[in-house]
Assembly symmetry: C2
Homo-oligomer: 109 residues x 2
Amino acid sequence: MSENNQLRDVFDAIADPTRRRLIRLLAEVEEIPLHELTAQFPMGRTAVSKHLTILKEAGLVLDRKVGRETRFRLNAYPLREIQDWVAFYGKFWSTNMLRLKQLLEEEEE
Amino acid sequence: MSENNQLRDVFDAIADPTRRRLIRLLAEVEEIPLHELTAQFPMGRTAVSKHLTILKEAGLVLDRKVGRETRFRLNAYPLREIQDWVAFYGKFWSTNMLRLKQLLEEEEE
DNA sequence: TTGACAAGACACCGAATGGTGTCATATACT
DNA sequence: AGTATATGACACCATTCGGTGTCTTGTCAA
């Protein structure tokens, strides 16, 4: 099977809103070069590139050079770790949600 | 309905491994005081307390004072945001997973 | 062949993060 | 009453983070 090449924790990679937006943008296209991604953000190319590097380290993004561009592509598979993790806690709001909500309200007043 | 009191991004709150372990520990008990939680970690009480504060700010934890203890309790509900977010990307490995795996392997050599 | 564009690599910076230790206070125990 | 325990509230510190700007190299196009 494919080795676990993840230098970076996936939870860490998706913690930043910019990186989540990158993931979303990448989900909507087949492949997209850095400068086009950069155009979608209020920050410079270097910053976007760094975020993409972090996503790459988490295995969430693949890149290839085409001419002078570097094109990026989403690899959503590592997100399974997140899904598995959060699934475990699903029971805490499916069965106990009402009770917990009550507790929350008690606590808030 | 309950206001959105989240001072802290839930994605951010779960990014730290110590905080994920706290969530897990809290999931296994009804209610637990700070010093008992601290005993489970290789760090000091202050550090654990800070992590719990961050979880509180994300709405993932409730606390109440009982005597001289502060007891903590899990509120898993905000994790729904994570589940909703990741669910969107589920299709990328359920339908396209094979193709993406191939791409990953190409890229790796 | 010259000029514009895309991107990597690097140095730099302020703010946030994740830890520490210490002091003060409230509660529990004997 | 006096001691030990649990916690809050700080001040402090090194490292990481998220951004910047600049310089260089490679590629495309006129």
